[in-house]
């Protein structure tokens, strides 16, 4: 298994910020926010540096486990060219965090993600007409469903 991670660049919109990086994946329509540590690791994944080398770039006292923790998350979010995971090293995230310890001088890597909404063009607001012969959808939110019957009676997008 290769331990030379390569950051994915294609199909992404990347917005650099002072202490973090926002990445929007155009293929999955998911947005990811990389904190400072995970952003550093991701940017260092140039296909030339090994995990050990990246950990040295982060600082002399930084363990390899911290870089692996970042890579594990980046890989899971499909932000690396090929899959690399902690489990392939026989380690879980919990074990890695335990090993890094609370004394780490660097913040633990973290990648937060959210999905973008689907196109809203076919959606009407909650409270509006639907069903019957209307070809419209109620918004995908909790408790807002069409009371009408497709091809039958017109109803409204409404909640329970």
């Amino acid at each position: 298994m290769s331990q030379i991670p390569v950051a994915r660049k294609e199909g992404l919109v990347i917005q650099e910020m002072p202490d973090e990086v926002l990445v929007y994946d155009l293929e999955t329509n998911k947005a990811h926010c990389l904190n400072q540590t995970s952003a550093f690791v991701w940017k260092a994944c140039d296909g030339k540096k090994s995990v050990v080398e990246i950990s040295k770039l982060l600082g002399n006292s930084v363990s390899e486990d911290l870089v692996w923790l970042a890579i594990d998350q980046l890989s899971e979010k499909n932000l690396l060219e090929s899959k690399l995971s902690l489990s392939s090293r026989g380690q879980s995230r919990r074990e890695a965090i335990k090993k890094i310890g609370l004394a780490s001088v660097i913040a633990l890597p973290f990648v937060a993600s959210l999905a973008a909404p689907t196109s809203v063009l076919a959606v009407v607001s909650c409270g509006q007409a639907c069903g019957g012969t209307l070809n419209v959808r109620c918004p995908a939110i909790v408790n807002c469903q069409c009371t009408g019957v497709p091809g039958g009676a017109t109803g409204t997008c409404s909640g329970a």
Partner: protein, 289 residues
């Protein structure tokens, strides 16, 4: 499941039409009946609460057909998609929603966020939220306390990160029933609508929780990245114009505070929000950006 596929688009015998351009979106509205067409034209000014141009001979990307058909029913199509038949009132309601969302999704050089917006002392408070999260209720309370009304539906943000008014009638629920919206002009609530572009002071990501009553309100401050991540699901054009939307949000996030918190009843929460805004938002002008 409430989709009904009707294949035949409604393009026959259409005599009356108006072409408009709103935020760079070119739309043509057509109808086969003069009296109905006049009603549609009247509704346009309610649906689009900003200045727009009527133009001649443009190539419209979006064509809305609203035709009178048999048995006092009306039919609605957008381009080749037939959205079905219904009573006049229902079709006008669906038209209202479709027209606004088309403009929001395809606006040129603007990012539309699904959000409530008010102005307080020259800066915007933006409350991004889905339907049924109490945007209008909170906006109404803020307006009653002296905030200028910008919108209860969309925050319209330009490429420099300023918010423009989209002061449609406030659509309040809970009067007829839980879901039916009743429209009110902001003036009937004793408020006024803003007319200028303004910088953003605060983004508030919030949702109503019954019984929420903290001793002291301490919203969670989000970093720019965390904030944009949470705002993205409310950006109408995120899939169509991703790069522009993220670049624009980044400009706004550099200067605004982004906080997240649950909230209780709008009336009490509006006071907390105003106090928080006055304490935490920098009032120095950044109109030169």
């Amino acid at each position: 499941m409430n989709d009904v596929k009707i294949k035949k688009p409604c393009k026959e015998k259409v005599k009356y039409e108006i072409q408009i351009e709103v935020y760079g979106v070119k739309i043509c509205i057509k109808s086969n009946r003069k009296s109905f067409f006049e009603e549609i034209k009247k509704q346009l000014y309610k649906t689009i609460p900003v200045k727009f141009e009527t133009v001649a001979d443009q190539i419209s990307e979006y064509i809305f057909y609203l035709n009178a058909v048999e048995n006092n029913l009306y039919e609605f199509c957008v381009n080749d998609e037939n959205l079905g038949k219904a009573t006049k009132a229902t079709i006008l309601e669906v038209f209202d929603s479709k027209l606004r969302i088309t403009i929001a999704e395809f606006a040129v050089s603007k990012v539309f966020l699904h959000a409530g917006v008010v102005e307080w002392k020259g800066k915007a408070i933006i409350i991004p939220a889905n339907s049924l999260q109490g945007k209008t209720t909170l906006v109404t309370e803020l307006v009653k306390k002296g905030a200028l009304y910008y919108s209860d539906e969309y925050a319209v943000i330009d490429e420099n990160g300023f918010v423009h008014p989209f002061p449609k009638m406030l659509s309040l629920r809970g009067i007829v029933d839980k879901h039916t919206q009743v429209d009110y002009a902001v003036e009937t609530l004793g408020g006024r609508a803003g007319s200028e572009r303004i910088p953003v002071g605060l983004f508030l990501l919030t949702g109503f929780e019954l019984g929420w009553k903290p001793k002291r309100w301490k919203p969670k401050f989000l970093t720019a990245g965390q904030g944009i991540l949470e705002i993205i699901p409310h950006v109408i054009s995120i899939r169509n114009n991703t790069k522009f939307a993220i670049k624009t949000l980044n400009k706004v996030a550099k200067r605004a505070i982004i906080v997240k918190s649950k909230r209780g009843e709008a009336k009490e929460f509006a006071d907390l929000l105003i106090n928080f805004f006055e304490t935490n938002v920098n009032y120095t002008s950044d109109l030169d950006c």
